[in-house]
């Protein structure tokens, strides 16, 4: 089935609706935050995938698309769906295989000028300290007992063990620990895969970037966030690695055969879901919570190793403070206002980021006045943005996009450009690139992604979040 312009209702310049009448099995309408130009450029498949998600039982108000929407499997990337609690559904495929893939930003006290002479050494040291974990993992294999501690205790447990600082806990979504995590719901296989991957980067679009604050749009918020022009910062983008992949695989295997018994009919098996309050739903939520704790612990340990490299090159007094850490593949229980009433919802965000407004009880005290810091990474070698949550994104369950979004397949990107050429172009722009091989570089070429500046402009104008600062890369460290 194709979607054409006449199927959309324009709510305003930045919000479009596909009404329930579009397809018989839709339980709620679709809403997409996007410009008209970008909507026209969006693949039909991504839109159909969003229409498909509206068939999931218990979805409240709309299935929501973010401006970086593109097709994935089951729900699209850049898809959001909130279900009634506790009888609405929870879905492994609406979280994705990389449970709690996410981003964090570390702030230094240095300006670009001060760092320039050390840039190459810093990038080399960070690459040495943080392996990709693909060909080989970290040298240290944790025991299953140690993995269980991470799954249950998350970031606070690691801080207790002497890694990182107290502030690393409060500056992390959920304080780096989902309380419902239950290690008995996670398979031995998943735990096994996690044993040598705590503090590893992975592949694909995962990266560490040394960046600088190129432009500040909101001086007041920037000051509260601790940002200044030309400041050097470090962005980390990765997730729960093999442990999360296995966990999603395990629960799809559990959920797919049983969902019909709950009277659920779906147009795509990858949307497989069960009532949150069913035994399978409860077990998945607890296992996913544990995998999310693993992912936060992974980013936390990468931070630890990055700080080690930073101090090795710049001296013991050099520090990196965590601005914030946000997940972009996750399902959570949150309180939202629906029809004037506060109620709990099961919010799924797949390739979408939580963005709480000023005053929200779940954000750190120091950011309460202005709102939650939101991190939007660009594609390799392009700009990234720091935004701040707003009250206007209430209708989107306080959610914003997670990046630029692909516009070209990996295969097409490889045909369009060679890895060596991508590296040459980055070097021309003065960006240092550290990768172990050219493989995979072309697939992540900037030309394969939407223009992040354009995407963030939509975010800002639609009121999903407000722009605070633009970051540009100085050095890119790729996993593989």
């Amino acid at each position: 089935m194709m979607i054409s312009k006449k199927d959309f209702i324009k709510i305003n310049n930045w919000l479009w609706e596909i009404p329930k009448s579009f397809r018989e099995d839709m339980k709620v309408p679709v809403r997409i935050y996007i410009s008209e130009k970008m909507l026209q450029e969006t693949e039909d498949e991504a839109l159909i995938q969003l229409v498909n998600t509206t068939t999931m039982p218990g979805m409240v108000k709309y299935a929501i698309g973010m401006p970086d929407i593109h097709s994935g499997y089951g729900p699209p990337i850049g898809g959001v769906g909130a279900m009634k609690y506790p009888e609405g559904v929870i879905s492994p495929g609406f979280v994705g295989y990389d449970e709690n893939c996410g981003c964090r930003l570390l702030l230094s006290d240095y300006s670009e000028k001060e760092i320039k002479p050390y840039l190459n050494e810093l990038a080399t040291e960070i690459q040495k300290e943080v392996p990709s974990g693909l060909g080989k993992g970290r040298k240290v294999q944790l025991s299953i007992g140690q993995i269980n501690k991470i799954l249950e205790g998350g970031v606070p447990k690691l801080v207790e063990q002497g890694y990182g600082e107290k502030e690393d806990i409060e500056n992390c979504e959920e304080n780096g620990k989902m309380p419902d995590a239950d290690t008995s719901c996670v398979s031995e296989r998943a735990k096994n895969r996690g044993r040598d991957q705590v503090g590893t980067l992975g592949s694909g679009n995962h990266f560490i970037e040394i960046q600088k604050v190129d432009e500040i749009f909101d001086e007041r918020v920037a000051k509260i966030f601790g940002l200044f022009k030309d400041q050097v910062v470090v962005m980390i983008h990765t997730g729960s690695r093999g442990l999360g992949h296995q966990n999603c695989t395990d629960y799809l295997r559990i959920v797919i055969p049983v969902y019909p018994k709950y009277g659920i009919k779906l147009p795509d098996k990858e949307l497989a879901c069960v009532p949150f309050d069913s035994s399978e739903g409860q077990r998945f939520f607890r296992a996913m919570s544990a995998a999310c704790n693993y992912a936060w612990s992974n980013r936390h340990m990468i931070t630890h190793y990055t700080r080690k490299a930073w101090k090795y090159v710049l001296g013991e007094r050099a520090d990196l403070k965590l601005l914030y850490d946000v997940a972009h593949n996750i399902a959570k229980i949150e309180e939202h206002e629906v029809g004037g009433q506060k109620m709990k919802l099961i919010v799924h965000r797949k390739g979408a980021t939580r963005a709480f407004p000023p005053g929200h009880p779940e954000i750190p005290e120091k950011y309460k006045e202005v709102g939650q810091p939101v991190l939007i990474p660009g594609s390799m070698g392009t700009a990234s943005y720091i935004c701040v949550g707003t009250e206007q994104s209430k209708e989107a369950w306080y959610t914003v996009n997670h990046g630029a979004g692909r516009t070209m397949s990996r295969h097409a990107a490889m045909r369009a450009i060679r890895g060596e050429e991508v590296v040459r172009r980055l070097k021309e722009k003065g960006i240092l690139i550290k990768c172990r091989s050219m493989r995979g570089i072309a697939e992540e070429a900037p030309l394969a992604y939407k223009n992040v500046d354009e995407v963030v402009e939509v975010v800002h104008k639609a009121g999903l979040s407000k722009k605070v600062a633009k970051l540009v890369p100085l050095a890119v460290i790729k996993g593989e």
């Binding site: 498949e45 994705g96 992975g202 694909g204 093999g242 098996k269 493989r439």
Partner: protein
């Protein structure tokens, strides 16, 4: 007959694989998965037993490939052949033949059910379309 083709997909790895019977089809999907994500191998040969049961043929293919990815990651191996001992629409038993993994282009995160299709063409050739999250 070609083993597999890489299909267009914006973010993930999608392939169409072929086989003159189901055994060859499953083998060729596995080869397409590893080659599609550029998993490179060392010389030394390795054998590993595999045993998978599922409720139907399409779940069997997903579970079979997920099992192989688990072996691949935990043992750092990549496989290029299978000696089937048993193959029905619900069960597989066999020996995977592979080599030590050297490096990979991009890691496969999961084997999805999205657009999954296994069918036999009029000319008797089996074909499977499958999408991997990468």
């Amino acid at each position: 007959m070609e083993k597999y083709k890489i299909l267009e997909h914006i973010s993930d790895l999608k392939i169409r694989a072929f086989g003159k019977n189901k055994k060859e089809l499953f083998l060729n999907v596995m080869i397409g998965m590893f080659e599609g994500a550029k998993y490179e191998k060392e010389e030394e040969e390795i054998k590993r037993e595999i045993k998978v049961s599922s409720k139907d043929l399409s779940s069997l293919l997903v579970d079979f490939l997920s099992e192989i990815l688990y072996f691949c990651e935990t043992n750092r191996e990549v496989y290029h052949n299978i000696k089937f001992k048993k193959m029905t629409d619900k069960n597989i038993e066999g020996i995977l033949i592979g080599k030590k993994l050297k490096r990979m282009g991009v890691q496969i995160k999961g084997v999805t059910y999205h657009d999954l299709d296994i069918s036999q063409r009029k000319d008797g050739i089996w074909q499977a379309i499958i999408l991997f999250d990468i």
